[in-house]
C-alpha cells in the first residue's frame, strides 16, 4: 500500500469519526443555545433530557421485542423514537413550568442552581427506574458498511449525519421563516417589548424548551444506537460536551451551535488520533479533552462571544 494514500485514508476516517460525533454534539447543543438565546439561562438539565429520551426509546424497543409482534428492526427503533420524543417534550415543558418559570425574575444564579438540581434529580430518577447497570441497545438495525476511499462508514453513521443535518435545517427554517420563529427572535431580543407587541412570551419560552427536548430525544436515541449502550449517567458528559460546543460556536446562536458541535467533534477525533504521533509519544490520547478545551480557550481569548457569537440578530 502506498504510505501516502494510507495516511490520507486514516485522515479521512478520522474526519468521518469526528463529523458523526460532532453532529450529535450539535443536535444537543442546539437545545442549550436556544434556551440561552431567549432566557440567558444555561439549562444544565438538557443533557439528562437526552438520556431520558434514550432510556424511554430503549424501554419501548425492549417491550416490542419481548412481545410476539414481528416487526423489522428499523420500524421498532422508529417506534421507540416516536415514543421518546413526546415524553421528552412533556418532560421539558414540566421542567420549565415547575423549576424555571417561578424564578424567571430572580437573580440569574438562582435558575442556574435550580438547573443543576433538576439535572441531579433526573439522573437519580433514571437510576431508580432503570438501575445502575449499563443497558445494551439490541443489535436490530442493519449493520451495513460502505467503503469510501480507504475509509469505512456505516449505514447508521450516514443516517445520523443526514438526520442531524435535516433536523438542523428544519430548525433554521422554523426560526427564520415562520411566525413562531419571528416571535422567538423577538422574545430573544427584548422579551418585554415583544410581550407588549402581542407575543405570548410564556408560550414562546415553553415552545423553545419543547423543541430543544425533541432534538435531544432524537440525539439520545442516536447516541445509544450508535454506541450500543445506555446508562443513567450518559447525559452528563454528553451535555457537558454539547454545552462546550455551544460556547465554542457562540452561545445563543443557532448556526454557532451547529458549527461548534461539528468542530468539537472533529477536534476531539483529530486530537485523539494524532496528538500521540505529533508529539512523538510525549502526549498520548488521554490529552484528547485537554486539546479540545485548549482550542476552546484559544477561541474565547480572541473571540470572547464564540466563533459566531456577535451576530446577535440571528440568535433565537
Amino acid at each position: 500500500m502506498n504510505p501516502r494514500h494510507f495516511f490520507v485514508d486514516i485522515f479521512l476516517q478520522q474526519l468521518i469519526n469526528g463529523l458523526v460525533l460532532g453532529s450529535v454534539y450539535a443536535l444537543v447543543a442546539l437545545g442549550y443555545t436556544m434556551v440561552y438565546g431567549i432566557l440567558e439561562l444555561i439549562n444544565f438539565a438538557h443533557g439528562e433530557v437526552t438520556m431520558i429520551g434514550a432510556m424511554i426509546a430503549l424501554a419501548v424497543i425492549g417491550a416490542l421485542m419481548g412481545s410476539q409482534v414481528d416487526l423489522p428492526g428499523v420500524v421498532i427503533v422508529l417506534l421507540g423514537v416516536l415514543a421518546a420524543i413526546p415524553i421528552c417534550m412533556a418532560l421539558a415543558y414540566v421542567i420549565e413550568r415547575v423549576a424555571y418559570r417561578p424564578l424567571r425574575n430572580a437573580p440569574r444564579l438562582a435558575p442556574l442552581i435550580t438547573a443543576i438540581g433538576v439535572s441531579i434529580l433526573l439522573q437519580n430518577i433514571a437510576m431508580i427506574i432503570w438501575g445502575r447497570q449499563y443497558i445494551s441497545f439490541p443489535p436490530i438495525l442493519p449493520a451495513s458498511t460502505f467503503h469510501f476511499g480507504g475509509a469505512t462508514i456505516s449505514g447508521l453513521q450516514i443516517f445520523i449525519l443526514l438526520l442531524s443535518v435535516l433536523l438542523m435545517a428544519a430548525l433554521v427554517l422554523l426560526v427564520q421563516k415562520t411566525k413562531l420563529g419571528r416571535a422567538m427572535r423577538a422574545t430573544a431580543q427584548a422579551p418585554h417589548i415583544a410581550g407588549l407587541m402581542g407575543v405570548n412570551i410564556n408560550n414562546v419560552i415553553s415552545f423553545t424548551f419543547v423543541i430543544g427536548a425533541a432534538l435531544a430525544a432524537v440525539a439520545g436515541v442516536m447516541v445509544s444506537a450508535y454506541y450500543g449502550i445506555a446508562h443513567y449517567y450518559m447525559g452528563f458528559l454528553l451535555g457537558l460536551k454539547a454545552f462546550t460546543a455551544a460556547v465554542l460556536g457562540g452561545i445563543g446562536n443557532i448556526a454557532g451551535a451547529m458549527l461548534g458541535g461539528l468542530l468539537l467533534g472533529v477536534i476531539e477525533s483529530m486530537g485523539a488520533g494524532y496528538i500521540g504521533d505529533l508529539t512523538g509519544g510525549f502526549m498520548g490520547s488521554h490529552y484528547q479533552d485537554v486539546f479540545a478545551f485548549f482550542v476552546l480557550i484559544l477561541v474565547l481569548v480572541f473571540r470572547p462571544s464564540g466563533l459566531l457569537g456577535e451576530r446577535v440578530g440571528e440568535r433565537a
Partner: protein, 388 residues
C-alpha cells in the same frame, strides 16, 4: 424507649456473663477458644458472593473442630466471627477494628480489593494475620505488611500471563495497547506490555481512554493505521463492549484481548455480534479443573447449596491459617505467622504457598474465549515463572 433501654441493659449483662464464661473456658486447663474473623459483604448486590466466602471459611472451621486439633496440649475450639463490610471501604475499617477488639487470632477476608486494602492496615497494626481469598489489586501485598496474604492470583500475575499468552500462544507480533487510566486498567496494561515485549512482540501503539467513554473510533482509527494483529484493553466491560463493536465497524481485523474486567456476561450483551472471538482472562481456576474440585463441590453443595464463586479459595485460606497454627503449636499470631509464610500444602484450589510479599505462588489464570455468544474455557495457565 425505656423498655428498650432495659432490654439493652439485660443484653449487656448477659453478654458480660457470657464473656466471663468465655474467659473461664479459655483459662480452662484442657480447652482453648480460638476466634477467627471472616469478612465479606453479606448485604447489598454482592451478598451471594460474600455469603459464599463465609460458608467456605465456616466449612473449614467446622472440619477442624470435628478433627479435634490440639494446640499447646489443649483442645482447640475454633469459632468463626462473621462480619459484613457491605463492600464499602469505610465499613471495612470499622469491622476490622471490631474484630481486632474482639481479639481474633486471624482474619479470612475481605472479598473486594477496595475493602481489603484499607482494612489490612488495621490488622497489620494489631499484628493479626489476614488472608484474602479474592482481592487481586497489586497494592494489597505491596505495602510491606508481614500480616497480609492472599490466595487469589493478583493483577500483576494476570497481566504477565496475558502478555506471555499473547506473544507465544496467539503468536501476536504487533500489539496495540489501550487502557482506561484507572489503577486496575493501567496496572494490567503495564504488566501485559512488559511480558509481551519479553515474549518478542512489538508494541506498535498505546492509546488511552477513560472509564466513562463510549467513543473509541478516534483511537481505534489511529491504531488501525499501525496495523497491529492484536489489541489489548485494560479496562471494564462497559467500555470493552462498544470497543469491540467499533473495531468491527472500522474493519479493524485485530484480535481483542482483555482481563477479568471483560470476562463477564455483560460484555457479551454489550458487544453483541462483535463479541465472538474475543479472549479474556479471569484469575483462578474453574472448579472443574481444581485438584480437589469435585470432592469439595459435592461436600459444599450438600451443606450450603451451589458454589457461587470464591468459596474454595476461602476454604483453602482458612485451612492455610489453621495448618500454620498447628505447625506452630499455637494460635498466637506472633508465633504462627512465621509458619504461615512457610506453608506449603495441596488445597482444593491447587498448591498453597506464599511468596515473600504474601502473594500466592504460581497463582493460576484461566483464559476464556467467546464462542457462539458464550464464554468458553481455553486453558488455565500458572503464573509460576520467575517474576521481574
Amino acid at each position: 424507649m425505656k423498655s428498650r433501654l432495659l432490654t439493652h441493659l439485660a443484653l449487656v449483662t448477659i453478654s458480660l456473663t457470657l464473656a466471663a464464661c468465655g474467659k473461664q473456658s479459655t483459662e480452662n486447663a484442657n480447652e482453648i477458644v480460638v476466634k477467627i474473623g471472616s469478612v465479606a459483604p453479606v448485604t447489598g448486590p454482592q451478598t451471594h458472593i460474600g455469603k459464599d466466602n463465609e460458608n467456605g471459611a465456616q466449612m473449614a472451621v467446622d472440619e477442624a473442630n470435628a478433627q479435634g486439633i490440639m494446640l499447646d496440649g489443649k483442645k482447640a475450639k475454633f469459632v468463626l466471627l462473621s462480619e459484613d463490610d457491605a463492600a464499602d471501604p469505610k465499613t471495612a475499617t470499622n469491622v476490622a477494628q471490631k474484630l481486632v477488639d474482639q481479639k481474633v487470632k486471624g482474619v479470612i477476608g475481605h472479598l473486594n480489593s477496595g475493602t481489603t486494602i484499607p482494612a489490612s492496615k488495621i490488622y497489620h497494626d494489631a499484628g493479626v494475620p489476614q488472608i484474602s481469598p479474592s482481592a487481586t489489586a497489586i497494592p494489597y501485598t505491596a505495602q510491606g505488611f508481614k500480616s497480609a496474604f492472599r490466595l487469589m492470583t493478583n493483577d500483576e500475575q494476570q497481566g504477565r500471563v496475558l502478555g506471555q499468552f499473547a506473544a507465544s500462544k496467539l503468536g501476536a507480533k504487533k500489539i496495540a495497547l489501550i487502557d482506561d487510566r484507572t489503577a486496575y486498567g493501567q496496572g494490567l496494561a503495564d504488566q501485559f506490555e512488559k511480558a509481551a515485549k519479553a515474549g518478542g512482540a512489538e508494541i506498535v501503539g498505546r492509546e488511552y481512554t477513560t472509564d466513562k467513554s463510549t467513543d473509541f473510533t478516534a483511537i481505534l482509527t489511529s491504531i488501525k493505521g499501525k496495523n497491529p494483529d492484536l489489541i489489548f484493553f485494560g479496562g471494564m466491560d462497559p467500555q470493552g463492549g462498544p470497543m469491540a463493536k467499533q473495531m468491527k465497524q472500522l474493519g479493524l481485523n485485530a484480535k481483542l484481548l482483555g482481563g477479568d474486567g471483560l470476562q463477564t456476561v455483560q460484555f457479551i450483551t454489550l458487544a453483541a455480534d462483535a463479541a465472538d472471538g474475543v479472549i479474556a482472562s479471569s484469575p483462578g481456576v474453574p472448579i472443574e479443573s481444581m485438584p480437589g474440585g469435585k470432592a469439595f463441590s459435592d461436600k459444599f453443595t450438600a451443606k450450603y447449596g451451589k458454589i457461587q464463586l470464591y468459596a474454595p479459595y476461602a476454604y483453602d485460606a482458612t485451612n492455610a491459617m489453621l495448618k500454620a497454627m498447628q505447625a506452630a503449636n499455637s494460635a498466637d499470631p506472633a508465633k504462627y505467622l512465621p509458619e504461615l509464610t512457610k506453608i506449603n500444602f495441596t488445597g482444593v484450589t491447587g498448591q498453597v504457598a506464599f511468596d515473600a510479599k504474601g502473594d500466592i505462588k504460581g497463582g493460576a489464570v484461566t483464559l476464556y474465549q467467546v464462542k457462539g455468544g458464550k464464554w468458553e474455557v481455553l486453558e488455565t495457565v500458572s503464573s509460576a515463572t520467575p517474576s521481574k
